[in-house]
Symmetry: D2
Subunit: 363 residues, 4 copies
């Protein structure tokens, strides 16, 4: 239940204020060059404390590979990675030990398990997503060898939408903004909310180019369905759209269908999938994040002892989780696509026959 | 890859124009009264040809249980169910044998597998969803014993939104409309599109009441994430929202958090999940369906032999797939919740200790 | 829980005296020629009533393919197969309705599920293995394309061991005997037991030749481990040996190691696996079957109402289940190897890179 | 592929000469007291270098829990555990870098993956079993709460069989010998082989008492089948027997059936399972281990460059892997039974109805 994927599986562990977080990525094909600097760079993009727009918790998030790599190459055995927690301030959470923070998982974890690690949200903390980013980075390395590139950025913050999708610009933007024209307004919305001890929502656009035709396993491991699961499973996500998504429901069939020519599809309303299988066009996914539930305002709640109390949070929190969420969206798309690419091997008898004689020669 | 669920698993088979479609539902606890009439009634709600708003293909969709039930009760062994296809008109598809219908899975199936059953879309036909409805009906019977009730209806058609959510009304509406005030306009939109040989989109609202606290397995089998997968996996679905969904991204954290009192949550922006686990409040999911890709207008496409051609469809198709999609949404929510209920058994040592002595006494 | 395999999955359904038994085989690559006559011929080898050595229940065991095959080729979608039960004599079981037959699963099913289909053992009947044989036959067709051949036969009956392994001879032997020299003695042992209303055990040798190097997924889906599970999961199996098996524990390391030359291994004590991965040599598995628990002698037992009673069985039963078990062993080995072959695709980055450009050209 | 179990899953990582080995155990119910000293004591029983009968590699095998435990109790989240490697002598392996040690997995790993970590066998080293023992120890803690106790010992070494099964005696025996009468002879056989630079095989008996009736999921996750997989998956295992195993094939049905009385079964030929489900009697499994493939004699082999060479091993190795294998057998039986206990929750509707109202009260 802490494992994502079927053929490339990411199993994560760790709590916000425990000793360490980490993961085991299993199923990476042998012979992949494991670029540790690249993995670290993705973690650095996700790590907190890079600007005023993010939580003040500063974590180095230094990744250490424990297994599965030999002389720089993947060996086909599980790759374990670990990040030690260094900057916990568990005392910040003493006052929430017995109460359920509104909008958080405190209530549900407590009732599901009968007890919980209350420090920083324990397992339900978004800190766990660092492990996803580490696994996702290796998935990206795999995909790069197949010509697939994944990008992301914020297309909307607090209802302020951009019109332009400039992924290059987003890379150097503090809030990974896709549209330079609205970036300042989006930033201001975040800072205003922060000053008001409040938070805002945002929307992440994630795309993949160079996706081969044929990824996605009908009928219950469809590419679009698994992407929906992957994205909705990120902390604070509340909606997922594929391609035109909601907008497509306002079109007629004659407007929404992507006609086909020998040069490719004439449009991409579908967002790169047909029948749950990639069609070779750009894969387009939008993930909608609610405003951070951690706010510094008085809120009504109850305790584990069934008393009504006022909740006053301390701690350090992102005023807009969508920003760092963008890096996590990339990771989840990468993990999904790499898993699908592996599952797709062997879909035709021709492919099995092409691979197996080579193996036999070895004897 | 044709299996949904982890502990309660639905594995389906069958093509639109093959001999039969069906499923194996595995993991149903023993001792559940299997009400065949109820299963049939759900199939009847989904079956085509009930009104002008739907495809003219008339199928009886008579379900037959082949195993797993003895003297009216589930035995704990797999329940196989079968529906024989009776009203195929495969000739309608002779003219699309070699071309890719725009908006359909023809293109991707052909390139993934190297060949395809072109008759009526083969495996990618929405006809397969009858098997989901059959499995979902048994899941509903399980959930009913736990006090969970699932309902659905259309909250939007072709951009025409309702304001009221009257699930009782929807039951007798030809288009499962939730708001009587807009039903006529919604129906007209569908019929107008049909007259224009076109199609429209729609949005299905699905809810579950009486859901126990604690369903959903963090971190990669969360309730909301799996619901997103379940719904996005339905033919023609393009977006999924949980609770307020997209609207929540326009709220501040202080507006979006659901405060807690001893009487329960003061609001339900979350849609019944916190941290991916049910919180006991009503579960709310919206599924957005694109307009049916099968339209009777000339469309540009290519053939399997790489020729550009004009596609002129024949056959019988729904002008708005969202209508019958509503019944499928219920089924997928039921399968998800029943699976989660089973997975949740054993989350606490107390529960194991409560069950096991009873077992031992039997020796 | 009724599914075998990870990438090629066989899900079976059905009870001994229900309407039908059958299976869904999912994951078959597209483009495989599905030879229905071959599938039927394997079922015919397994079906009961071919000689006095077997149960008198006569079933046609006619297999019908319901899906997943189009114009003689697999399409990559699930292949459902069904066998209708025709020769049930459920009345034979009226007298065991309330009691637990010694050596049978009656006791455990009743206590696990709280109820059971008592007719002919219900789900626990070896009749279900017909579905395995059907699925295994398709796996054999897959493997044949890769140059793998699977054979089986009885190397021991009632303690009477053969010295020769003549698989060709076994094919035409009523008891699939591998050694013509002991066949008569083995047959006599079976018939003598039958006359005494008793039963005997036997040992099946199953081999695969032409197995590519590299099949088996360390560390928890090893080839030998999964074969052990596959064989031990067959009704009445009580022990499984790989290669020299128990005999190897009596050797010194210097005797048991298979030295390696450029012409191959100098011996095959290992039975074709090293570290859980196929080494290209002949795969050798022995499966030991207990004597049939259904005997026609008085036995002491209890009822579901906790009364001590004498059990007097009626019905028709094999005096030596190992005979027909041989065909099931082949099926389970075929399913295991075909699953492993598919899982093994993508173990090297080189293979992914070899397959994916081909896919891209299609756009 | 590095994960064992379905509901309680153990995923392991690590190579013999890498930084660390470890595991993630997922699915442990919340509220279990995690006794770290007990986990360590099981690791100490397995760790090398305790006597002349074992490899000279001395590892502290200190286990560190990284997550999933809070204030001494399991929280229901994944439990990660790590053991750092401290006493590697990788130089010992320089001379086998390019050759395939007979009886080892070098050949198959190299051909499967195209490269391998040759140091100490890399991933295929029995060192990985320390992670299984750590996970198994927690499974034992779970089972203890349900009244299940697991024990093991050697019943045979180099063909020298004992007649007595004294598990208490085995605990303090250097070779975990079950029969004091043959212990000295068994020890001598091991030391003689060691002096001759050779190795011997052995047989481990593992039992579980107090097992509830009903564990095991028919038809493809049967208790006996999964135990066979679990045991055969241990390094050097070549055969597995359940109950009387091979001996039962020499009995008549009338001898082998366990008759039933109101006081329980009159015999236990079955070894505690019927139809793949536990029957409440003592669970009995025998695992046969081949002689250690690492011997210090000249052996013929080939290199990765296809040259025939003589293999002369260095390093430190157990002359009889069955000894430490006994502790691993316990772990695998514990993991299997705990997994089965969790899977078995929810087999009856009654159990769901008993648990769920309690959950609802919490809202």
């Amino acid at each position: 239940m802490n494992t994502f994927g079927k053929r490339l599986t990411l199993t994560t562990f760790g709590e916000s204020h425990g000793k360490a977080i980490g993961c085991i990525l299993d199923g990476v094909p042998a012979g992949l060059h494991i670029d540790e600097a690249f993995i670290q760079s993705d973690l650095d993009r996700r790590k907190p404390g890079k600007s005023k727009l993010e939580t003040g918790r500063k974590e180095d998030d230094k990744i250490e590979i424990l297994s599965g790599v030999f002389e720089g190459l993947s060996t086909g055995t599980p790759i374990a990675m670990i990040i030690f927690n260094t900057n916990q301030k568990s005392k910040d959470y003493d006052n929430v030990k017995d109460l359920f923070r509104p909008g958080h998982a405190d209530f549900t974890y407590f009732h599901k398990y009968g007890l919980r690690d209350y420090r920083g949200g324990g397992r339900s903390s978004a800190r766990e997503t660092a492990a996803r980013v580490a696994g996702g980075a290796i998935a990206k390395l795999m995909l790069k060898e197949l010509g697939v590139e994944i990008q992301s950025g914020l297309c909307e913050v607090d209802g302020i939408k951009g019109n332009v999708q400039d992924f290059e610009y987003a890379k150097s933007s503090k809030l990974y903004a896709l549209d330079p024209a609205v970036e300042a307004a989006q930033e201001k919305a975040i800072l205003t909310a922060k000053e008001n001890h409040d938070s805002v929502g945002g929307v992440v656009l994630t795309t993949a180019t160079g996706v081969p035709v044929g990824l996605g396993e009908p009928l219950y491991y469809k590419l679009d369905a698994v992407l929906a699961e992957a994205m909705m499973g990120i902390n604070a996500a509340k909606a997922v759209e594929i391609g035109d998504g909601i907008a497509s429901t306002h079109l007629k069939g004659s407007q929404n269908n992507d006609e086909i020519t020998l040069q490719g599809f004439k449009s991409n309303h579908s967002g790169g999938t047909l029948g749950g299988i990639s069609n070779g066009d750009t894969l387009i996914v939008k993930t909608h994040f609610k405003p951070t539930p951690s706010i510094f305002r008085e809120q009504q709640t109850i305790t584990t002892h069934n008393e009504e109390v006022t909740c006053n949070l301390k701690g350090r929190h992102d005023p807009c989780v969508a920003i760092r969420g963008a890096v996590v969206c990339e990771a989840m798309m990468a993990l999904t696509l790499a898993d699908m690419a592996l599952l797709n091997m062997g879909r035709k008898m021709d492919h099995l026959k092409a691979i197996y004689p080579e193996t036999k020669k070895s004897v």
